[in-house]
């Protein structure tokens, strides 16, 4: 069934969009990532104009994250206090990120920088997680007890706060720092930042993987809602018809994803996320390195 999208001005298959939404929704619920880094390239691929894809994707993530958070709230796996601290940092970071983005834009080649940013970050984050979780899985097989480093330099900083759900008593500075950095990245790369946030929470803050997913989703809701409003009012690029098709699939997928996620072991969850991040990274690197079949690209007046 073909549907004509009012803002994107293209006609697309409704079932294809429902399916894509569902697939990304499952991943979102499982890993606590918004899925923007996966969905946005997919939307480009089926012919949605990039500006519309990025803006609408933000709107869809609001829905799937909200659906996921509710499921996590019932299981009490959302650290609201940590989420709020990260969110405050995230909004500050996003505001900074917009400034950085405009500066890069004035230099030209912003597209390339975004892509390189993706490849480097996805590669580093994915590689580190893959290594760590592989070691963790091997250790559990051998029967070596899982050791979590309880006291790093992170724990020596002042302004300590108790994060009960995460079982942490740490300084407020590292979470704020993580929030700001992810916010900057999110604004530059046009994504919610879950795929950077999740590993940072696990490895830098030492939060338990189960709590990380729900908490990450919680803060993604606000960041993407903010982004949606920004795009809707400045670029008029949010396509609500496209969003509805994606989010119907997305919210259902997120529920399934959450169920799958809670039944899996933490290190299995981490290694799957790592593999997914590495695959996307590989695809982007491939596009940069291999000669494209069409060297030319078009953009109409309004885009630039």
């Amino acid at each position: 069934m073909q549907i004509y999208l009012p803002i994107a001005e293209v006609s697309v298959n409704a079932f294809l969009l429902l399916g894509l939404g569902g697939l990304v929704g499952v991943l979102s619920g499982m890993f606590g990532v918004g899925g923007g880094f996966l969905m946005t390239p997919l939307l480009f691929f089926i012919g949605i104009p990039p500006a519309v894809a990025v803006a609408t994707e933000a709107n869809q993530i609001v829905a799937s994250s909200f659906s996921g958070v509710l499921a996590h709230l019932r299981r009490k796996t959302v650290d609201l206090r940590m989420g709020t601290v990260l969110l405050i940092g995230g909004l500050v970071g996003a505001a900074l990120g917009v400034v950085v983005f405009n500066y890069l834009k004035s230099l030209g080649q912003v597209d390339l920088l975004v892509k390189l940013c993706y490849v480097v970050f996805l590669g580093v984050v994915g590689g580190m997680m893959f290594n760590e979780s592989l070691r963790a899985i091997r250790n559990t097989r051998r029967g070596v007890p899982v050791r979590r480093r309880k006291h790093g330099w992170v724990h020596g900083l002042p302004f300590k706060i108790r994060f009960r759900t995460s079982g942490l008593y740490i300084s407020i500075i590292p979470p704020l720092f993580v929030g700001v950095s992810v916010g900057i990245l999110a604004a530059i790369m046009g994504v919610g930042g879950g795929f950077v946030m999740v590993p940072a929470m696990i490895y830098l803050l030492g939060m338990p993987t189960k709590v990380v997913v729900g908490t990450s989703l919680f803060q993604i809701i606000f960041v993407t809602a903010f982004t949606t409003m920004l795009h809707a009012t400045t670029n008029y690029t949010v396509d609500v018809a496209l969003a509805v098709l994606l989010l119907v699939g997305g919210v259902i997928g997120a529920q399934f994803g959450t169920t799958i996620g809670t039944r899996m072991k933490a290190e299995q969850l981490r290694i799957l996320l790592a593999i997914m991040v590495l695959v996307v990274c590989g695809k982007l690197a491939f596009d940069l390195l291999v000669q494209p079949s069409e060297l030319y690209s078009l953009s109409t007046g309004e885009d630039h």
Binding site: V10, L112, L247, L298
Partner: protein
């Protein structure tokens, strides 16, 4: 002298005597873009009205349909430091979002180059690229790329021989518009030509508009962006909550 003068009159007068006019019909002069719009076929048909007898030379018909024109930027990638990045770009003043040419025969035989240039009939001529040559050396390659990409999307169509003509009087063709249409006024031109020269020209418009829900959403997003944004968010939150509630019920049941 008198004989010569009459010859001049005859030469000047002959096209006037054989004046031919187009009487046109369209299967519809408006295209409504609804939510389930899958493209549209428009039948363009008509007759040639003439006072005098049918001239000896064969009549050709050229029909063009052009969507609204917009400035277009064409970028080209090349390899720098081992990776493929956009290096060159050309800004074209305007290129039609949709352009179809249908003729009774090969365009270069039906219309002379001069007439093509004068009336901007062929696809290349319909694109305006005044400043393009100053931006890169091979601006022609960029225009070719634009035409190639648009043709692959069915947005540019060159259909030579697609106009059927009977008794030098009745002609008809069908223009198929793809689903990815831009809103606006689609200018439709019909040229009658003999021996490469345009003998008559007729112009009309096809109105392409979003209707119903499509119209409502588009207008809302432009005129009330804040409300539109909040509505989008409300839908997202409601859907997220709805799915969660339904799943909880299913699990309990």
């Amino acid at each position: 002298m008198l004989w010569r003068l009459s010859l001049v009159f005859a030469l000047v007068g002959s096209p006037l005597c054989a004046e031919e006019e187009v009487v046109l019909g369209l299967s519809s002069d408006r295209v409504a873009i609804t939510a389930t719009f899958e493209g549209s076929d428009i039948l363009i048909f008509g007759a040639v009205k003439r006072e005098a007898a049918i001239p000896e030379t064969p009549l050709d018909v050229v029909i063009t349909v052009a969507g609204p024109s917009l400035p277009v930027t064409v970028r080209r990638k090349s390899r720098e430091f081992g990776i493929w990045i956009n290096t060159d770009m050309v800004d074209l003043d305007s290129a039609p979002s949709f352009y179809a040419v249908a003729t009774t025969g090969p365009l270069n035989e039906v219309l002379s180059d001069t007439e093509d240039l004068r009336h901007r009939v062929s696809i290349t001529r319909a694109i305006r690229s005044v400043g393009a040559a100053s931006m890169v050396e091979d601006s022609g390659a960029f225009i070719d790329a634009l035409i190639r990409i648009k043709r692959d999307q069915d947005a540019y169509q060159m259909r030579e021989g697609a106009v059927a003509i009977d008794q030098q009087t009745l002609f008809r063709t069908a223009i198929s518009m793809p689903a990815n249409l831009t809103e606006g006024t689609y200018e439709t031109r019909i040229f009658l030509a003999r021996e490469g020269q345009v003998v008559s020209q007729y112009q009309t418009e096809i109105d392409v508009r979003k209707v119903g829900l499509e119209r409502f959403l588009f207008t809302l997003s432009r005129e009330q962006p804040t409300l539109y944004g909040l509505m989008s968010l409300a839908i997202a939150i409601a859907a997220g909550w709805g799915a969660s509630a339904v799943f909880q019920l299913l699990r309990r049941g």
